[in-house]
Assembly symmetry: C3
Homo-oligomer: 409 residues x 3
Amino acid sequence: MNNSYTTSGNSGPKVRSDCEVSLGLSDRGGIVIDLKSKVEALYGESIKKQCTEILNYFGIRDAFLRIDDSGALSFVIAARLESAIKKAADTELDYLPDLLEENKYSTSSGRFRFSRLYVPGNTPGMMINAGLHSADGIILDLEDSVGPEKKDEARILVRNALRQVNFNGAERMARINQGERGMKDLEVIVPQYVNLILIPKCEDAATVRNIENRISEIKANAGLNNPVYLMPIIETALGVEMSFEIARSAASVVAIAVGLEDLTADMGVPRTVEGKETFYARTRIVNAAKASGIQPIDSVFSDVGDMEALRQSVLSSKALGFEGMGCIHPRQIPVIRQGFAPGPEEIEKSKKIVLAFENAHSKGLGVVALGSKMIDPPVVARAQKIIDLAVRLGLLSGGWMNEIPAEMK
Amino acid sequence: MNNSYTTSGNSGPKVRSDCEVSLGLSDRGGIVIDLKSKVEALYGESIKKQCTEILNYFGIRDAFLRIDDSGALSFVIAARLESAIKKAADTELDYLPDLLEENKYSTSSGRFRFSRLYVPGNTPGMMINAGLHSADGIILDLEDSVGPEKKDEARILVRNALRQVNFNGAERMARINQGERGMKDLEVIVPQYVNLILIPKCEDAATVRNIENRISEIKANAGLNNPVYLMPIIETALGVEMSFEIARSAASVVAIAVGLEDLTADMGVPRTVEGKETFYARTRIVNAAKASGIQPIDSVFSDVGDMEALRQSVLSSKALGFEGMGCIHPRQIPVIRQGFAPGPEEIEKSKKIVLAFENAHSKGLGVVALGSKMIDPPVVARAQKIIDLAVRLGLLSGGWMNEIPAEMK
Amino acid sequence: MNNSYTTSGNSGPKVRSDCEVSLGLSDRGGIVIDLKSKVEALYGESIKKQCTEILNYFGIRDAFLRIDDSGALSFVIAARLESAIKKAADTELDYLPDLLEENKYSTSSGRFRFSRLYVPGNTPGMMINAGLHSADGIILDLEDSVGPEKKDEARILVRNALRQVNFNGAERMARINQGERGMKDLEVIVPQYVNLILIPKCEDAATVRNIENRISEIKANAGLNNPVYLMPIIETALGVEMSFEIARSAASVVAIAVGLEDLTADMGVPRTVEGKETFYARTRIVNAAKASGIQPIDSVFSDVGDMEALRQSVLSSKALGFEGMGCIHPRQIPVIRQGFAPGPEEIEKSKKIVLAFENAHSKGLGVVALGSKMIDPPVVARAQKIIDLAVRLGLLSGGWMNEIPAEMK
């Protein structure tokens, strides 16, 4: 019998779409709910009913529950209450809201990952609209954006968000914690059809392989066979030193990212706009990724107010070979997507390669050549991907091939 | 019995010093030759005689042969006809023109390789005068400059060129193809006293060692013991990652080159004049080469019209430690040679080192010192080489040592 | 019986605090001393007495000794005479002046090593005042600053200096020679409570481990247990290639330094002020050191006359992550120390970050923000380290946080 209160969630003047719940278990008196909510008139009864249902699910018949609601959706209330329950009582149970059928999509290893939006893992207000900004990926972050005392409740909230929030086709990513806590994150996150796991402060190949193996076990136990890709993040000098080993450590690694705030902190140098202090690290990481056939992804750009500086940063990044960048604010997404999108020269070159391939194919030749130069299959594949994207972005007509004069083919 | 025609070689308004031959085998009627040539009046009979001889050598008694000649030399005609025959009929035979005695020279591992002229392997017009431009090396290229359907005939043409064309002391080099085709190239090229083999798109040490072993076998079978050096070319991010392993992979590796067109394509970035996108790769390759005691060689400079830009590029290249550069046009050679030649400071420093060595030697000292600093034997050797070159280039008098006042020694 | 003279030490118009001794052994006539000294009137008898004592110590009863003294201290005279004796006669004996009690201090692995002053190992005039300039470390150099024929006498002089010269708390360092000679240096130097050994032209981990093992043996034999740290110097392209292996080769390695004069010579390039030619090497070495948790130390700056250029060089060096630099002249020390210490901007920024963290922490927030910018935990940690150093250097009051008005927090 525990007479003290456990709490979970957030309240306060700046909090949106969240709630704070306080739970006191008792041994008599049934379930008493004290709800404070702006939407009480409309949803009060339904919230109370949901909470009673959840308490019953966990076998709790007598309790005092206070809810300070700031417009939390049902999956948020469920997560907050489950967290409070798990702080108060040992239980093996999980209360899983429905997994939306439209959330069960897979992604492909080679898809473009120009922009990925970081969403703090304990802030439901930022999750709900995350899918509206056309980011290539959305990261539900359990690591640096979540304070130590909030890690457990964030994990449950992210689980529920992956089941209930529609991210409109963005790659569904989660950044787990380091070490043992990260392994617990996997247990909870992997069964939710997550597409990609980010591994923070990665410093060796063994960590990546352990995570890959654990994911395989979890998927096997859950009867799932959707791909779950990995993106290790290099954030220390040791990670830089090991970047090639990390990049080719496991088949499910599709990208490596660099985290420059942490890296410069580890190096003990200020991070500059020119970035001379990390030029070695960034170019080494790009090369390690390209040598391993995976995508190198650049750090986030911290100053969310300066769009022109972001634009310049994206161009420099792309010129070095990076294929994407993290975003910490939705307004960064269009600048980043536009910056990494293929330019006119790249599209022209890709058209030539695709035409050469079509030519060779129609003549039954086994080898594709541009001029005297043979073109390897991965180069053809990449050119085709660029063409597809250019068409999707409206940079090229879908019927471009038919518009080319016959004598040019 | 094959009634169709096989062809080999090139014809057309822009073709010089080449011919196109079409061969139809028959079972009666003897050898019929249809020759179209500007030099028919002078050389017609001799060309026909040569062709008949070659056909007989391969056991062909009945055939129709059409030759569209643009002034091909005898070794070219022989190569074109042999190629056509080999397309038409299985044969183990090779028709080898004489190997000029003056082509049987060897080179040394440490010789300067400032400039090396690329000559496409299926373009005889560019081979004939290649030796007139004082390039340090001439590369007969079987790889990227030869289309897939021309690979076999280029191999035979290059073989004949190595036997019959005098390159005036330039290092005689060949760039082979990748993989199995490259191994076939070796069979044909190595016995021709070639000095150096370029290995394209090299990505591991094992490939280099396989090639070294195969060359040893071929030389042993042919009873040859001239040195055949290797220059792997790094053209992919994976090659960059492996550059140190490649540089020290085998005793016959004397240099590693970087190919920036292919490397930037592999990285998916545009190649810029400033070259920030390949700075990591280039400096890593330089370091890997120097750490292995071999020469780092820079990429070709693509803009054959801009001599001033080339000059700047050579100076930057040398400043980073590169010791040579590829050329795709003869006019680039003097600019490159002059740029990589030792400057006045380098010559002055080398003079001091050579004098210190002579001093120590005359005093019977085992250790050479300049001031308080000991000078290692390889540094002395390099200084001597620079002095020798400076004398050869007329930058220093051959009797410079005698011209120094005794009190300065 | 050896009738020829052996000599040791230096004389001449520019020599200070040194002496040149010439020793001729004899079999009769006792000890005859011919002393030429400006201080003969004052110290003549005492010098002669010391020399007779030392000769007796080595069992020499008959000898002719000429001393050309330029104001040598007692430990210098002793070293010079011992060297002359050891050239003249085989002996297992060493003549050790007292080891000052105040020289028996230890240093810590993580102490700041902003500046380290090189002192040539055979120039006593530069040793005596070396401790007055507040260098973090003083290097008694047995390697490049000592000519081959002076190596043995320098070793004895440095030994005596380590016993008799007070370096005022500077880290007491010695740079040994390469190879077998370096191992002999260790025998003589390690028992003198030396704090750190610099390993020149280091190219592999095995060399470092051999030296560490040898030092352990020497310390065990001498009954010593003070820490002796190692600082390998990377001075060749091969060393650069091995820098990570070297940095983590042994537990006593606390720093790796780069030697750019030798490195550029090894690479065959001129050393420039901008340093593009060594950018790869320097940044790779910094990363290797940081990845191994040790300090990366920059090369000496050769132009002792240009303080402004030195200042710029220090700032660039620090910006890349170097944590110290060699000095070849005492006047460079304050510029280097000041340059590597945290600057006002760094301190101000660190204060803001630490305050923002304290603020967030007191409010229970998981995310620390400064303006629109999120601040990650490692950045907070670095800021705290800078604040601690600033307080230690007296650049900031220990109670700074209480001195800030409440409304600014």
